[in-house]
Symmetry: C2
Subunit: 253 residues, 2 copies
DNA sequence: CTCTGTGAATATCTTCACAGCA
DNA sequence: TGCTGTGAAGATATTCACAGAG
């Protein structure tokens, strides 16, 4: 099955574009904050500002979910929180395992945001026998030998890989064989998985390199400008994780 | 405010599309691995497989950099490593500060991939006075009061924020005021920055939510199928930022 | 012949701009 | 009115498919 070329048509899962799905968590976070402040409704303009996107995009995104707003008024915060949560599948509980309990794995285990939204750390797994039984974030680390059993006993379908790069593919294979179909990969490697398994990666080094690229370009273009330029407060804001506006590129003063 | 309409033409930094820039680090990693194995040349097909992308995309990406390949042969590994490194600005040294030395900050400080490619941890900064002076990853933590001085003395233009969400914007403002123009944000908040400052974010919780969305859909579509995968159903795959597709691409033995 | 480089065709995403409901 | 919802336009990104260099 080497050179796949199964060429799926990119298949936006149901009818919701992938780009929209990636923004839903952002909206949800902003809405949750509003909800905690007991704000009853928001306009697309306000919510968009809070989420760091433009309002037309937000409205278009919501239009894929249905018509949950009221013209002339805005969106009901609580209702929207519920709808987005449901759409994202956060109304159910997702047991997650973290494999590789080094510095990063431990940090992830301790990360509060984990538990907050439907995700529950079902187990911590590490290959080092010395770690076995040692509690991290209140959860005892288990040995890799138990991996398959843990996955099955807990009905885990989401796995987080925080091992060194060299071990990642092997761990991945075992997770998938045991039934995991979604993987969040922190190891700096490309993982091969069968069709039907989702992989997302988080890679510090790649992010820094992308920043360096733009940084270098800034230095080159402003070619003489030294330090902090208090650009007229223009306060654009970092939108998506990816393409944020930036790029002064001969800014039109 | 929001509706600035400054409408810069999206300005792909020079002429290199953002999507291509985001993949260059991936290619570079694959090439570096080949280089270490002393492989002299690669075809677009092989390199694409190693990087987890399709070969047409890779060739198109490289075409933005110039014509560095040889028809009928492939690409010279060493040469390409050099060209991509230069394009990404990795031939120079980038001092980086990490602000917020909790579990995550400490993990990042210890992360090897940091130093590997032109990035150097110039300083660790934390608001907790009790942390001051304590070495993490061999680097003594300094107090937030020193932030501006550290940035200026070291000529830092890239900052990493690993503080709690509540402190992130404030830290961000100080970094920017001190001269930082690229920020990697690990805090689960949207940061506002002036024009000309790049922000990229890494957010565990968002990634998990995106996986949950697809996971839910899988469960729904296969609707009767119990455990193991092997769904014939339509497949989406890791999209967005992690454009490693399904990519079986097993090494051609 | 093989494999790059690229125009052209698609597919996807973003933004505009405005009809029309509350 | 004020704001949502959305067709249509515009911008990016991906993929195809093949001319042509080596």
């Amino acid at each position: 099955m080497a050179t796949g070329r199964t060429h799926r048509p990119a298949t936006r899962s149901r009818g919701i574009p992938e780009a929209t799905v990636a923004r839903l968590p952002l909206y949800l976070r902003a809405l949750t904050a509003l909800s905690e402040r007991s704000v009853p409704t928001v306009s697309s303009e306000e919510l968009a500002a809070a989420a760091g996107v433009n309002s037309a995009k937000l409205r278009k995104d919501f239009s894929y979910l249905g018509s949950y707003g009221t013209r002339g008024v805005g969106y009901d915060v609580e209702y929207l929180v519920y709808q987005i949560s449901r759409e994202l599948g956060l109304t159910q509980d997702w047991p997650v395992v973290i494999v590789g309990i080094g510095n990063l794995g431990a940090a992830l285990a301790n990360y509060g945001g984990f538990a907050s939204r439907g995700f529950r750390v079902a187990a911590l797994i590490d290959a080092d026998p010395a770690m076995a039984g040692k509690p991290v974030a209140g959860i005892p680390v288990q040995h890799t030998d138990e991996l398959e059993k843990i996955i099955q006993d807990n009905g885990v379908s989401i796995g987080v890989i925080a091992t060194p790069a060299g071990a990642a593919q092997q761990v991945c294979d075992r997770l998938v064989a045991a039934g995991v179909t979604s993987i969040l990969n922190f190891a700096p490697t490309v993982l091969s998985v069968p069709d039907g398994v989702d992989v997302r990666k988080v890679d510090l080094s790649i992010e820094l390199q992308i920043l360096a690229f733009h940084e270098q370009r800034k230095a080159g273009e402003e070619a003489g400008n030294g330090a902090a330029q208090q650009a007229a407060a223009a306060r654009s804001d970092a939108a998506d994780q990816g393409p944020d506006g930036d790029v002064p590129a001969v800014m039109p003063a």
